[in-house]
């Protein structure tokens, strides 16, 4: 290996370590801030308390954990098919004139602030949903908007993944007489599986981390949701709602919920990467 190669190896590894260390830094920060609450209350009370009334000393997180998972998974269920479809559209179906415009619009969607999504949801979508009863601020509205927000992540990463499928495969498949749908479903999508998968993963973690739009749309009642039309509060929304007004001990409890959120994300990430296993190997 030449000297410049060694330098490259050293520098890039060092950078990778720095990038990875950021998450540990944040984790450490969360642990430090949530330690007083954990020491005083223990972990069990966050699941066994009667309700969430921090000023009355009741700290039950369970409904919020459920709401966080429901909105995020729902959002992924909306974003995945639409996102993949729009990547497939760009590569195989769109008239050449549309391709560029389509991509540009998707990139634009990625840059719209969550407040604007929230605002649109609050002023336009919620009143429409409200016709089904209630205020229109509920799981359904929040999930739809969240799905829209993470869609560009799925779409753009799927787009890149499809682009990286070797041309020969597609040409070969076409030469074998496969029709367009068969090429897409049986050659391209399996070939791009890893990239699409990582796009969906990233979108899921992004959905779990989204705060403002959900806060504006989910209704924020801390109760186990009974249907899609019930209001619910996610862990993030809870942090954003109460943190600015929290006293010292309440603040520490909110950090516990931040820590918990990160643990949920970690479990999902590790679980998915375990399951994918060695088949994940780079071509």
């Amino acid at each position: 290996m030449s000297r410049s190669d060694l330098t490259l190896k050293f520098v890039s590894r060092a950078m990778a370590i720095i990038s990875a260390a950021i998450v540990l830094l944040i984790l450490g920060f969360l642990v430090r801030e949530s330690e007083p609450a954990l020491r005083e209350l223990g972990l069990a009370r966050f699941f066994t308390d009667a309700s969430w009334h921090p000023l009355s000393g009741k700290f039950n997180f369970t409904p919020m954990i459920a709401a966080t998972l429901l909105t995020s998974l729902g959002a992924i269920m909306i974003a995945t098919p639409l996102g993949i479809a729009s990547a497939v559209f760009a590569h195989f179906y769109a008239p050449p004139l549309l391709v560029n415009w389509h991509r540009r619009l998707i990139e634009l969607l990625a840059g719209i602030p969550s407040v604007v999504f929230g605002l649109w949801g609050l002023v336009v979508l919620a009143p429409l949903v409200a016709r089904m009863g209630g205020s229109g601020q509920n799981l359904l509205t929040a999930t739809i908007v969240l799905g829209l927000m993470v869609l560009p992540t799925v779409a753009l990463l799927s787009d890149a993944a499809i682009a990286s499928v070797p041309r020969e495969w597609i040409q070969g498949a076409a030469a074998l007489g496969l029709q367009r749908w068969a090429i897409v479903v049986k050659v391209v999508l399996p070939g791009a599986r890893r990239g699409i998968g990582s796009g969906v993963m990233l979108a899921l973690t992004r959905a779990l981390g989204e705060t403002m739009a959900v806060l504006m749309l989910a209704g924020n009642i801390v109760e186990m949701p009974k249907s899609l039309l019930s209001p619910a509060r996610t862990l993030n929304a809870n942090i954003a709602l109460e943190l600015g007004y929290a006293s010292a001990s309440h603040r520490s409890v909110l950090f516990v919920s931040g820590l918990m959120l990160m643990l949920v994300v970690s479990v999902i990430v590790v679980g998915v990467s375990r399951r994918k296993g060695p088949s994940d190997a780079w071509r």
Binding site: H53, L55, L122, A126, S135, G219, P231, L241, L243, A248
Partner: protein, 289 residues
């Protein structure tokens, strides 16, 4: 390759340098007799922040050597930061609690809290007991209080908000007894929620509601105890549900901070207070001047 290397070195250097200079730039005081100089930082209540920003701008014009940075983040943050000495002045949209007695509050304005409903709602007034019954889910249809046959959507504020505390104190309720349908954070969130659902009821800062009604938002303020919910009635002290907007300091603020607070309380800023839809408070310091 080399260029990337150079870039890294430069950026690390830049980072470490700025890290060193960061603190020294902050200090400064008003020692040199006549003209005030230095920098003040305020954090806290998002309700007070726009007003404080406007006052700060005018103060800076009068004293060109002064820089005032207004940050937001909530009353809790303002009080915590002021107590820890991270900032010179905290902002809080409520009175201090007993366990905050180590701090001093300086009121700069007052703000009323009024009940709002959708404009299409026919109900003209609610009694104290009716409001309590609605918020505890004993009444959940408007026809029970003289309105149309429509379900009531109860809009409530998140725990810790100053408006919520004023509301609870006024009606003598405990937060855990309330059964809400939507919980909102900011005033405008509440207004937009009520404007978007015809059967809803909520409570917001009267100034906010008046400004939005002026801008054509379909909401209506309900009178309380026979008193119309208007800024004028808050100013005269007739309207029962109101709160102070405070600047909070440790017992001995710096001369610059003292001067700024005095300015905030003076009649020189009453037009600004009104332009932000709050109610100015008359002060003895004014009279002395």
């Amino acid at each position: 390759m080399k260029s990337i290397h150079a870039l890294l070195v430069v950026s690390t250097l830049a980072l470490s340098l700025t890290g060193c200079t960061g603190n020294s730039a902050k200090e400064g005081d008003s020692k040199d007799g006549g003209e005030l100089t230095g920098k003040l930082t305020l954090t806290g209540s998002s309700t007070v922040a726009p007003l404080a920003t406007e006052i700060a701008k005018r103060f800076e014009e009068l004293h060109p050597g002064v820089r005032i940075d207004v940050q937001t983040g909530g009353s809790g943050k303002g009080i915590a930061d002021a107590r820890m000495g991270v900032v010179d002045i905290g902002m809080a949209s409520r009175s201090l609690k007993p366990d905050e007695a180590d701090l001093t509050a300086h009121q700069i304005a007052a703000d009323g809290v009024g009940m709002i409903v959708h404009n299409s709602n026919m109900v003209k007034e609610l009694t104290r007991d009716q409001v309590i019954a609605i918020y505890t889910d004993k009444i959940n249809n408007w026809k029970e209080v003289g309105g149309e046959d429509r379900e009531i959507t109860v809009v409530h504020k998140a725990e810790g908000r100053a408006t919520l505390e004023v509301f609870l104190t006024h009606f003598g309720m405990e937060n855990p007894t309330i059964k809400a349908d939507v919980i909102v954070g900011d005033n405008e969130h509440g207004v937009k929620t009520v404007a978007g659902a015809e059967g809803s009821i909520g409570y917001v800062s009267i100034g906010t509601a008046e400004a939005d009604i002026g801008a054509g938002v379909p909401i209506r303020l309900l009178p309380l105890g026979g008193v119309e919910a208007t800024s004028a009635n808050v100013g005269s002290g007739e309207f029962p549900m109101s709160r102070p907007l405070n600047l909070v300091t440790k017992s001995a603020p710096s001369p610059l901070a003292t001067e700024f607070i005095r300015f905030c309380q003076s009649s020189h800023v009453h037009d600004l207070v009104r332009s932000q839809y709050f109610v100015p408070v008359a002060r003895e310091t004014d009279v002395a001047k």
